[in-house]
Structure formats: structure tokens, C-alpha cells
């Protein structure tokens, strides 16, 4: 329950911090921290326009996407505080339930018969297919290190009595941060602010969503951010501190992460489209290095 409250709490300021950081670096004053949520609230009240070529699939796509992200957030623990759902192998379910949302969003993009949205859908399917192994290898190596296979047990035992855990935690945090960027389609894989449809990934998929549907897709995207950053925070925060300290560290880490994304998006250019696959594969390679590190630590090699 605690983790859910923390997720909601950080979701309030997370998108605002990104926007604020970017504004600061470009020398503007920028909107208030709550502006992104205000925009979403306005979208939720608006009417919708549906493409004449769309069918029922387009109508159910966005609600299923949000539902899967909400359900996935019930799996995120906060260290020794149990998540609402926790069982052996729950990270497999976590990844696959997000897959359901992605599947529905991709097919809703294909439903409007636009070449641009088809392109975005295709890229989303391709990149997430390449990214998935990194997530599983990462969690697999954490499972190997701790001997457990649920999020809660993994994170509760990660820092138990071993200095090596910090090496692992740092690599794991790095891989998770990269996964977050790919999953939520931020720089360097995709630039959400680009105005050329040919080079977009996620944003071009939802071009024809409007009103309520667009609003819930944005909510889901913001939540997805928090889910993955909660996972990296879980890797990094040491357990020896007391609960209030850890909550404080977590919330400030989220601010730092959001500011980091804002900083990255202000100073870095997007990858060339053709280089994205290589970039994602290099993240996979880091994950593979992690599993070999774990094997060495566990005296398997």
C-alpha cells in the first residue's frame, strides 16, 4: 500500500519537474509544476473526434492501456513493504501485462489507416521487442543473485549482507533507467517534442486519439515513468536507513531522475532512427554483462 501512495505522490510532480527543468535550461520561466496534470484534466473534459476508418478496437485500446499500467503498478514494492500483489515470478506477469497495453495501443494506431501512425506502431513494436530481453535478463540476474523471483523478495534481499550488491545495484539501476527511456519513448530514442511525424515513435501513434482517450493515455505514460523509476530506486536505496529517511531519499531521487531527463532532453539530440536498434541492443549487452558479474560473484564461473 505504501508503494502505491509513493507512486501516486511522485506522479504528481514528476512530469512537472521535467517540463520545469527544460524551461530553466532554455532560459524560460516555464509553467507551474502541476501544469501537465492540468492539461490532462482539461483533455478529460473534452469531446472526441474519431476517425471514420476506425472500428471498435480504437475505442477499447486506450482504456485497456491505462488498465494494464494501473495493474502493473500494483506489483511495485517499496523494499520490505509488500506490494499489493506479490508472488514468485511476478515480474513475468508485470512485463506481459504491460505487453497487453502495448499490443492494444499498437493495433489502435493501425486502426486509423494512416501511414504515419502505422510507422509509429511498427517502431513501437520493434523497439519494445528488442528491449524486452534486457528487462528479463536484468530481473533474471537479480533473481539469481538473491535466490528469489518476486519483486518484493528480490528487493528485500538485494542488500542483505553483501558489499557486492552495490556493484549490481548500480549496473541494474543504469539498465533500468535506459529501459525507462525506451519504454516511455523519451530521448535518446524518441523526442516527444519533435514536430516531424516521420521521426516520432510514441507520439505519432496517438495522433488520432483525442479528448478522454488522449487524456488517459497521457496518465498511463506518466504512471509508466514512475513504475520504472521506482524499480531503479528500489535497487539503489540501502535498507539500513529508517523508513522516513528512505521515503525522503526516494522522493528526492524521483526529482533528480525527472530533472535528469529534462537535462538530457535539453542538451542531447535524438539518435538517428536507424541507430536506435543498436542503442537498445547495447543496453541488452550491459544486462548480459550484469548476469555474468552475478555468476562470478556466485562462484559459478
Amino acid at each position: 500500500m505504501l508503494s502505491l501512495i509513493l507512486i501516486l505522490a511522485s506522479a504528481i510532480y514528476f512530469p512537472g519537474v521535467i517540463v520545469k527543468t527544460k524551461a530553466m535550461f532554455s532560459g524560460r520561466k516555464g509553467p507551474g509544476i502541476l501544469q501537465p496534470w492540468h492539461d490532462i484534466y482539461r483533455l478529460l473534459k473534452k469531446g472526441s473526434v474519431y476517425s471514420t476508418s476506425s472500428s471498435f478496437v480504437f475505442q477499447i485500446g486506450a482504456p485497456i492501456y491505462l488498465a494494464t499500467v494501473i495493474v502493473a503498478s500494483l506489483f511495485i514494492p517499496f523494499e520490505e513493504n509488500n506490494a499489493i500483489f506479490s508472488f514468485a515470478g511476478d515480474f513475468v506477469f508485470f512485463a506481459y501485462v504491460l505487453g497487453l497495453g502495448r499490443f492494444m495501443l499498437i493495433v489502435s494506431a493501425l486502426d486509423v489507416s494512416s501511414g504515419f501512425e502505422g510507422m509509429g506502431a511498427n517502431r513501437e513494436a520493434f523497439y519494445s521487442m528488442l528491449m524486452e530481453p534486457a528487462f528479463f535478463i536484468l530481473l533474471g540476474s537479480l533473481a539469481l543473485f538473491t535466490g528469489y523471483s518476486s519483486f518484493h523478495d528480490i528487493f528485500a534481499n538485494l542488500h542483505y549482507n553483501s558489499y557486492f550488491s552495490f556493484i549490481i545495484a548500480v549496473i541494474a539501476g543504469y539498465v533500468l533507467a535506459n529501459i525507462t527511456l525506451v519504454e516511455t519513448s523519451r530521448l535518446p530514442v524518441d523526442d516527444p517534442l519533435t514536430h516531424l511525424e516521420l521521426t516520432m515513435v510514441h507520439e505519432v501513434m496517438v495522433l488520432d486519439h483525442s479528448g478522454f482517450d488522449l487524456g488517459i493515455i497521457k496518465i498511463a505514460n506518466n504512471l509508466k515513468f514512475i513504475l520504472f523509476s521506482m524499480l531503479s530506486a528500489n535497487c539503489l536505496i540501502p535498507q539500513s536507513l529508517n523508513i522516513w529517511m528512505r521515503m525522503g531519499i526516494l522522493l528526492s531521487m524521483q526529482v533528480l531522475f525527472a530533472a535528469g531527463i529534462g537535462w538530457l532532453e535539453s542538451f542531447r539530440a535524438r539518435n538517428k532512427m536507424a541507430m536506435n536498434a543498436q542503442y537498445i541492443l547495447s543496453v541488452n549487452a550491459v544486462a548480459l554483462i550484469l548476469i555474468f558479474v552475478v555468476m562470478i560473484i556466485k562462484n559459478k564461473i
Binding site: 473534459k45 473534452k46 469531446g47 472526441s48 473526434v49 474519431y50 476517425s51 476508418s53 472500428s55 471498435f56 478496437v57 482504456p63 485497456i64 488498465a67 495493474v71 500494483l74 500483489f85 508472488f87 514468485a88 515470478g89 511476478d90 513475468v92 506477469f93 506481459y96 501485462v97 505487453g99 497487453l100 499490443f103 493495433v107 493501425l110 486502426d111 486509423v112 489507416s113 494512416s114 501511414g115 502505422g118 510507422m119 506502431a121 511498427n122 513494436a125 520493434f126 519494445s128 521487442m129 524486452e132 530481453p133 528479463f136 535478463i137 533474471g140 533473481a143 539469481l144 523471483s149 495522433l207 488520432d208 478522454f212 482517450d213 488517459i216 536498434a277 555468476m295 559459478k300 564461473i301
Partner: protein, 658 residues
Amino acid sequence: MTVVLFKIALLLSFGMFFIPKNIKYIFGLSLHLILIAASTRWAWHVLNHDTLTIALGVTTWSGEITLVIDQLSAYFMLIINLICFCGVLYAGGYLKPYLPKKRSVFISLHLFSLLWLHGAMLLVISIQDGIAFLLAWELMSLFSFILVIFEAQKEATLKTGINYLLQMHLGFALIMLGFLIAANQTGELSFEGVRQFFSHSNNIPLFLVFFAGFGIKAGFIPFHSWLPRAHPAAPSHVSGIMSGVMIKMGIYGIFRISLLLQYDLKAIGIIVLAAGIVSGLLGVIMAIMQHDLKKLLAYHSIENIGIIGIGIGIGLLGKANGSSYLMVLGLGGALLHTLNHALFKSLLFFTAGNVFYSVHKINMDHLGGLAKNMRYTSIAFLIGALAISGIPPFNGFISEFLIYNGILNQMSDSVFSYSILSVVSLLSLVLIGGLCIYCFTKAFGLSFLGSRRQEHSHPVKEVPVIMLVPAFILIGCMLAIGLVPAFFVNQVAGVLQSLTHTTITIEPLLNSLKSISYVNITLIAVLVVIAALRAWQQSSVKVSEGPTWGCGYTAGDFRHQYTPTSYADSLRELADPVIHYKRVYKSFEENEIFPPPKTFHTESKDLVEEKTILSWVHLIVNHLPKAGIAQSGLINHYLIYPLLFLVLIGFLIVLNIL
């Protein structure tokens, strides 16, 4: 009593040829129902009590045939009955347009073969004796051949059918060879003989012979090449039954043999695991490159057989390690995936058949926009696509979850080689899952959604109810497995427990599965809440329709949509080593001022088949004409040949070689 019913149903089937055309289908359906009733009663008895031995009362030269139905047979029996029932029900609608066109005897032959295929499969899984087993196996191949060539007036179909028949006989020969090797040592031509052989000789060679033989039926790569040919050529109810249950007879065989193994389990487990990984990955990569919807589904059967192979491999490694929990995760996952694949693959073939029935086209380049006219078909296909991609809350996830758990469990084993194996299997299973989502967003999105890519000469309508009923029966079963997985996994564990005579505790697994049911129910509840909120919001605001946003370009039409070729293009480089992918087009000349209309299409070739089978065949075919020298056409030459033969024999005897 039930045996008599079983035999009566098979005997009465000959009556099919003598009754009027319009009641043939009803007659066939009732015979199927008799078969189903009889065999389900056996299976029920076995699952609740003990192994059943029934004398069939038919004698071959090896003695009287007895049916020995144990838990494994019972499990497969229930799968066969469910899928055959749905398939035959579906055939009622699918065959209707053919009835006036086809001659009565062809319809009779088709329905007759459908019944006998059902009967032969039931016999295959319940016979332990070698010769009778091979007879039933042969019956199954022959009748499925007749079913495949239903449209034999097309030359391509007939050719495909003969290809299928040849490959099946290669498999038959290998299985027979396996039984004979065992019988040569033990004097017993049966599964019992194989077991005795395994208990005192090297297990690996004989297992490999059986694995190749059964693998041809199951479609493990490189024995897969009949699948992508036969499935598109066959009518859809036949593809559904063949892909749903007939290829599972190969899996049944591999299971049977695996359970008899005594030694070298580790090596054999690794072999099966490797075969599974290769089939799974290559199958799905080849599937993505296909344009023909049914061919795509056929390649997915290969992929799913691969997943089952991974499960069996993990299970055998668990058995080798003496870990019964790992064995249940692996073998149980494989068994459950057999059921799951039967459910969603026949569902997908039936819905693909619906598309063909209404549109008369099956190439994805010509489809699109069907969801608006064929609503129920597209819902059914979408659910099938989600299930085959292993996405919760459907059944495909459950079996993959078991296999994942097996892999994770094995990873923490203290031996390095096991850990590496599990990393490799984890990677490939994840990749298979990701590629499967890629492939099915393509298959569903491009054939059912968007706007149509080609004008059809007739209005596209939803199919008759009788063709939708089987699809929704299957969906019901899939949801049941997805929502109450603990019950089904418990049944499968029970089957394994009785087969291996060990007590297995799977409490931790069952707890996980119970949580999964809660999560799935939560997922549905959350979805309902969001949908209700959305409906409430939509009722209070202005909702309108408009053209798709063309990014400023207003003259966009259906030709600007993504096509199957362009969707698969991202994967071209990855797929090129296994499927040679060629773009066929003529580029613009430098001084072409008024260019004529140009065409562009892509071609793909199955390189695995090319390298492993066709290259040898071509070699032989190229060199055979040289033997034609001997065929001179002169009678005196032909008279010399026997003389030369006798001289040769004489020499051999003199030299004491013969």
C-alpha cells in the same frame, strides 16, 4: 458397451457414401458425437480412477488390439475431442458453399476422412503395441492427406498433398525403425520393448530416431517444411484440426518416449531444449515475413511446438537433476501449452477461414478494414492473437509462466552449464514472446483494421452463426484457463504424478497461480471501471467523426496505409539469414521522362528448408539423368543386365563375401 459404440460409429461411417447429399453432414456430426461420447467416458474414468484396458476385438497379425488408456492418453483424448467437435461444427458452415459445386462422392469422402482422422487419433494415443500403433499412425496420415487435398482440382493443392504424404511416410519409417531397433534387442515390438531397451542400452541414438520420426509430425525445425504448405492448402476446419491436435500427436510420441528414458537424461534434455529454441525462434521470424494469413499461422505452429520443446527440455533436465518440482514446471508447462496451443491455434485458423469464406482472399496485402463488417470474427481473432502472444488474462500466459518459472528455478542451480542454458532459454523465450507480439499486431492490425486495401467484387458480410459458435466455445475455454489456472495446472500435475509414480508438491506454484487469478480479475475490474467512466464522459460531451489526421495532407487514401511488407521491413536484416528476402522491382532509368506504371513486391524463401532438404534433392535430381545411359532401349542390352548380375553374384560367392 462404449467399445461397441466406438466400433459402430466407425463402421457406420461407410454408410456416408450411400445417403443423400443434404443429410451427410448431420450424419457425420452424429457419428463424431458418438466417438466423443465413448472416448470422453473412458478419459473421465481414467482421470478419476485408474488406467483402463479395453479389448477392441480387432485382430491384426500381431494379435488382438487392446486399448491401454492411461492419464497421458486421457489428457490428449480430451483435447482431441474438444478440437474435433469444434472443427466439425465449423465445417458445417464452411463446407456449405462447396456442397452444390462438389460431386457427392467427394463430400462423402471428405466427411468420412474427417471421422476416421478423429478415430485414428484416438487410437494412436491409446495403443501401446507397436504394430497396431503404426497402423493407427498410418491411418491418421492417410486420412489427413485426403482431407488436405479437398480441392484437388487445383494442381498446387495436389502437389502439396503429395509432398505432405511423402514427408509423413519418412516420419513413419523412422518411427518404425525405432520400434524395430528396440524389438531386435528385446523381442517385443511395443512401447514396453522400448522401455526395456532403454533400461540396458545407450538411450541417445534410439531417442534421436524417435525424436526425428515424431518431430516430422510435430514440425520441429528442420522437419517443418510440410506445415507452411499443407495448412494454407487445406480447408480451414482441417487446418484447425491438424494444427490444433494432429501435430500434437508428434508431441504425444515424444512425451511417451521421454517418460520411458532411463539414462542420459541431461544430454537428451539439452538436445530437446536446443531443438525447441531453434524451432521457436526461427518459426516466429519466418512467420513475420509471410503475407498469406494461413501460412503465417502455420509458421506460428512451428514456433509453439518450439515452446513446447523448451518445456520438455527443461522438464527432462529437472528429471536428470532429480528435482521433481522443476520437472513439473517443464513437462507440466509443455503439456499445458499443448492444450493451450490447440485452443488458440484452432481458433485462429477458424477465424482465418471466416475471412476466406467472406472475402475469398487470404493474402494480407488484399485485406484490411474487416473489423467493421465482421465484428465477431475480428473479436475472436484479436483474442486468439492475444492468447498466442502469451498475454494475460488468457491461457497462453499460464503455460509460458510455468516454463519461465522452470527456467528461473534452474538458473539458481549450482552448475555453470545449467545456468548458461537457462540464460539462453530465458533470452529466447523472451524474444519469441516479443516477436510474437510484433507478428500478431501485424496479422491482426493489417488484415482486420484500417481501411480495405483492395475493392472486393461482392459485399463483405459476417459469417453464419454456426461458424462463430466454435470460436466462442474455444474462447470460453481459454478464459477459463486464464482465470482459474490453479485448477488446470493441478490436473496436469496429477497426470504427471501418475505417469512418473512420484509424489510432487507444487504448493508454491499453486499459490502463484491463485494470485494470478486475483490479478486477472482485478485487471478486468479496473478495465470495467475505466470503460464505465469513459462511457459516462462520452455521454456528456460532443463526439463526432472525421477523416484521419493526414499531417496536413488532405488527399490521403487507403493506399497510404502501412502494408504487411513495410511492417515486416524493420526485421528484414535480422531475418535475412533464415529467410532469404528479396525485393523485386524495376528502378527508374536515368532518362525515363514518362515512366510507365511500376510494380514492387517482395519474395521470401525458407533457407532452412533450402539448405537442409532441397539442396540434397536438387543434387540427386541433377545427377539422376546420368543413370539414363543404362536405359538404351535395345532389348539385347537389357538381356545382358541379368547375366551381369548373375556373374556378380557368382563372384561374390566365390570370394566368400555373400
